[in-house]
Amino acid sequence: MIELAGVTKRYGEKVVVDDLAFTVRPGCVTGFLGPNGAGKSTTMRMMLGLDRPTSGHVLIDGRPYAQLKEPLRHIGALLDAKAMHGGRSAYQNLRCLALSNRIPESRVEEVLHEVGLNPVARKRPKGFSLGMGQRLGIAAALLGDPEIVLLDEPVNGLDPEGIHWIRTLMRRLASQGRTVFVSSHLMSEMALTADHLVVIGRGRLLADTSMEDFIDRNSRSSVRIRTPEPEKLRDVLSAVGITAAETGSGAFEVAEVPAERLGELALAHGILLHELSPQHASLEEAFIALTGEAAEYRTGPLAATAASGRDGIAPQTQPIGTES
């Protein structure tokens, strides 16, 4: 379990993390979402005692990180996959970490096997591909068989197979009752792995909820109807006070009305339907809707114009936050 209370990080005038308070619980994958520059990595570094909060505190299993005797046995982290000595073999890189926390050397073999790197254990990571580097970083995180696993953007730059592997691994770790905390700016990725979501923007907590709640609350659900008799359908719907937005070629979008009710109405009035499908907004859309206000770096007018046609996105006419 990771607990944050009133955590704030300030670099001079700039507030990077602003009064964050949330708890990461065991047994599920908690996705940590936010646009680039939202303060995700800073928050994770503070969880690991690498950065000191300006105020507030982080507790790992009820204790400050620095008080953990052999921290790798409690919490394992992947912050930066390249954070290995390129001139030291994969095996020895892990062995150096293991020794510092009195983790038996047999664990090094085990985790290398677990991430599928045992064939290159004696090779130096200098020549590793991005995917192999990521696997080595994850092996380091799993070394102490920790109850808490922290992964910062683990799928960045991975091929589909690698992404699938990490996804499966995270699900498995959570099913073993561990606390899995994973950051990403890829919403679609989180939709597939996370049970719980913590969303931040500009260092502030925007949401701390289950995945389903998050989508429900942050998106409008609608139903798509297609019929060869559009006039008749529109009349029937407006008679009962339902507004349907026509989307062309006999198709309608109806918001906030269950598909069942629409189907019953159509049947009662003998209207033939070719399609009746509930549309759930994706996590991507919900996320953009939520963080649109808080995004630190916005796209300029050009990109905004292209996006303005899409549902739920207010066109940006002015870029905010020109610093980089």
Binding site: R45, L48, G49, L50, D51, R52, Y65, A66, L68, K69, E70, P71, L72, A77, L79, D80, K82, A83, M84, H85, G86, G87, R88, S89, Q92, R95, C96, L97, L99, S100, N101, R102, A140
Partner: protein
């Protein structure tokens, strides 16, 4: 109780599993011995050209340690790399996540690397002494002669202490490139130049390498206002300043 021991073992493993350790330490050894022997052979050949006064001040042991001027650069590189590799690879975050008590991490690392540097430094100073004396022929001295053993130990200790200063500096600067860029020209050029400029000479005496040279001499240089003991004290002050500076930076800054 076990944390420092585990840190030692981890740091020892780090040191012994990269090739750069062996390379830099071997370079320190080879350069010091080769250059010291060469200077000793040249001194032997030119001995007859020396004035009476110069012969009187001739330091057979000190002459054989001349190679340290070059060899120390490899020792500096060793010290810088021990720390710098943590930062250049980004490994420092893994290391501090594993050992969150930064004092334990820092002093553990320094202790292990200093021990290794001291062993290499002492081996180097003894080998260079015997090689140099062999090259000096009839003008050589022996370990048993007055103050010679002390000078030999001083030369070895000096090399180790240069590595420690470099570790402290690299921890303060958190970068290999920056540390090398400052330490190398400083010890190779600046102190040499300063010590030959009349006005700056007084200051230059108190720089680490001048103090170190005093530690490795049998015959005291009449220009230098202190002897081998004073040299050691000056050296230790530099070491303490660098190590403390490194500790404060590591303790107070975000990793």
């Amino acid at each position: 109780m076990s944390a420092p021991l585990a840190t030692f073992r981890s740091e020892w493993a780090k040191l012994t599993t990269v090739r750069s350790t062996a390379w830099t330490l071997f370079a320190a050894f080879a350069v010091t011995v080769a250059f010291g022997t060469l200077v000793s052979a040249l001194s032997n050949a030119r001995y007859d050209d020396l004035s009476q006064q110069e012969r009187h001040a001739f330091d057979a042991a000190g002459t054989s340690f001349t190679g340290g001027v070059l060899g120390q650069l490899a020792m500096i590189a060793f010290g810088v790399m021990v720390i710098g590799a943590e930062y250049s690879t980004g490994m420092i975050r893994n290391s501090l996540a594993a050992v969150p008590r930064r004092g334990v991490f820092y002093f553990g690392k320094l202790a292990v690397a200093t021990g290794v540097a001291l062993v290499v430094g002492l081996v180097t100073s003894f080998v260079t002494f015997f090689a140099g004396q062999a090259a000096l022929g009839s003008h050589s001295t022996t370990l048993g002669a007055h103050n010679v053993l002390r000078a030999t130990l001083g030369a070895g200790l000096y090399m180790a202490l240069m590595a420690v200063i470099s570790m402290g500096v690299a921890t303060m600067l958190r970068s290999s490139m920056l540390s090398m860029g400052i330490l190398m020209p400083f010890f190779f050029l600046v102190t040499q130049i300063l010590s030959s400029v009349p006005g700056a000479k007084k200051v230059a005496h108190y720089l680490p390498d001048q103090a170190g040279t005093a530690m490795a001499r049998v015959v005291r240089d009449s220009d230098v206002p202190y002897g081998p003991g004073g040299g050691l004290v000056i050296m230790l002050v530099w070491v303490a300043a660098a190590v403390l500076g490194g500790y404060l930076v590591l303790r107070n800054r975000d990793a």
